[in-house]
Assembly symmetry: C2
Homo-oligomer: 327 residues x 2
């Protein structure tokens, strides 16, 4: 059963892939076994992260990028990460409709992930969905995120090239809520550049980039700041060119740096996966226990403080093997 699903996905079967991604998003049991078997078919796709606040036109940028890549006969997978807000529902729906332009093109596969990410599940489902698209044989995978919250920074961090989209005049402090997002930007795009203040936004960004440390990215790459009007398809060819340049600059690094970078990313991803499983599985085991219920009653009637309750539950319910093997 696992094998036949894997086979179908590797052959590019859209329905099987769509079902698997939906199951991953919903946390359906059994998807891990499929992902394990699928993993050996991954590693070929180039992953591009597109990140920016709501309203900056990310979806239009992605839409035009897809057109550009398709013109060059590249296959593309798109993952749109929606921490769905009821207020923005309309806009997102509109975006999705716009994306349907590509719905008859079987070189394009577009999916939204809606995971609320209660236990950091968003990062995990996104990475797994990337694996699925990768195994399907897509040349490029574009991951579109809103760029707020640690989850989304983590997602951006594991893309090969991360593009941060901003617009002029929205108030800088609104656009880049999390400082961390700056550190992961390889390319900055000022969209809607026909608006006033575009030049100011451009120079602000350049100044920002200079003072921000970029811990996770390679040396020798100065993040360029580009102007675009995605709605009129202006600046998109240049964006794709810069992405290719960044890709080449990655490849040109000494083997040692490539391995080191690969290892840093693998480490982060493995840590995230362990964290997510720890929380999902261990936490629910603890919360289902009688001890937990007792502790809760004691906290409510004031006979126990939550700090001690937490200590107790962790020491009763969790047990570590000896670390004899840890050197």
């Amino acid at each position: 059963m696992v094998e036949s699903i894997v086979e179908k996905i590797v052959k590019g079967d859209v329905r099987t892939a769509a079902r698997l991604i939906r199951d991953i998003d919903n946390g359906v049991q059994g998807t891990r076994e499929i992902l394990k078997a699928l993993y050996r078919y991954t590693g070929k796709a180039y992953v591009i992260g597109i990140t920016g606040a709501p309203g900056v036109g990310k979806s239009t940028v992605v839409d035009q990028m897809v057109r550009g890549l398709r013109k060059n006969n590249k296959t593309v997978g798109v993952l749109a990460i929606d921490p769905t807000s009821p207020l923005s529902g309309g806009a997102i729906l509109g975006d999705r409709i716009r994306m349907q332009r590509h719905s008859l093109d079987d070189g394009v596969f577009i999916r939204s992930l809606a995971t609320r990410g209660q236990f950091g599940g968003l990062t995990q489902s996104t990475r797994s969905a990337i694996d699925v698209l990768d195994a399907m044989g897509k040349d490029y995978i574009i991951v579109e995120t809103v760029g707020v919250g640690q989850d989304e920074i983590d997602i951006a961090r594991s893309a090969h090239t991360t593009v941060i989209v901003v617009v002029p005049g929205m108030g800088d402090h609104i656009q880049v809520i999390k400082a961390g997002i700056f550190e992961v930007g390889d390319i900055f795009l000022v969209n809607k550049s026909d608006r006033p203040d575009a030049a100011k936004t451009l120079s602000d960004l350049r100044a920002m980039i200079d003072i921000t440390s970029r811990r996770f990215k390679q040396a020798g790459w100065e993040p360029p700041v580009l102007l675009a009007e995605a709605i009129n398809n202006k600046g998109i060819v240049e964006l794709l060119d810069e992405i290719e340049k960044h890709r080449r600059s990655r490849k040109a690094l000494p083997r040692e740096s490539i391995v080191r970078h690969k290892k840093a990313i693998a480490r982060m991803e493995l840590m995230d996966m362990i964290k997510s499983r720890l929380v999902q599985e261990t936490l629910s085991r603890i919360a289902d226990s009688l001890e937990f219920k007792k502790c809760l009653d004691c906290i409510v009637d004031g006979t126990k403080d939550p700090y001690s309750a937490c200590d107790e539950l962790l020491s009763t319910k969790l047990n570590f093997r000896e670390y004899e093997s840890s050197e």
Copy 2:
């Protein structure tokens, strides 16, 4: 040592409290023992959450609230949660300077928490800092958050009254990035209400509130939508009045509902605390192990997939006691 710190804090010693909060924020070892001992002095303060996107004027609202509460001779603690963005650094700094108006008033204690919240630590440090201010004997504790990310929703959820601040014409989708924030709003405040579109924002909000489920709050309370110009101290008296109304409506609930609500909050807080400790402690133990390093090498050279590596590490390193006592 623990006892003398506790004693000082309960007496309201500002320097000791400030140091403890800073240590909590920095994750310094040993703070848990102090928090345990301090806990029995907590539970008297009324906690107000103020949440809204950057730029809506939260700090000005808080500043005026502090003035209003001080006029009524109430003591106030303020916790400003800063997921510090380099771009907004200036604004935040400005806010802090503005808040210094109260710096000579020893009935007011203002502190910022900057925890980046790498492992969901933000929620945890904020709750602990609330405990410290509570033990100090503050009548009111105002917790100011940016309102993005699950962390901040969780913080808002454990406040007694949560106020969501918006401004007209900023684009609704920017202001309320996370849907969840709506569910936790007890009072909505349209600040900068002299701006055009204030009426539209007001009616949009009313419509939003009607369709949003409010899982975590009590029945019988219809969240009001208020207008304010905090900078001119307009609408703040009305806001404080509504907060008192909400407080009374909470108290008027049947004892059963109060206990149920208290238990739901205690449950959420205990789960968060366990989660945070699990991740902080267990994850670092796993990551420091030789097995982890071996797995990482295998992933990088392609001989193992991360899904299997994760399974292995969790089963080698973690061991559960039998659940004989879990009914």
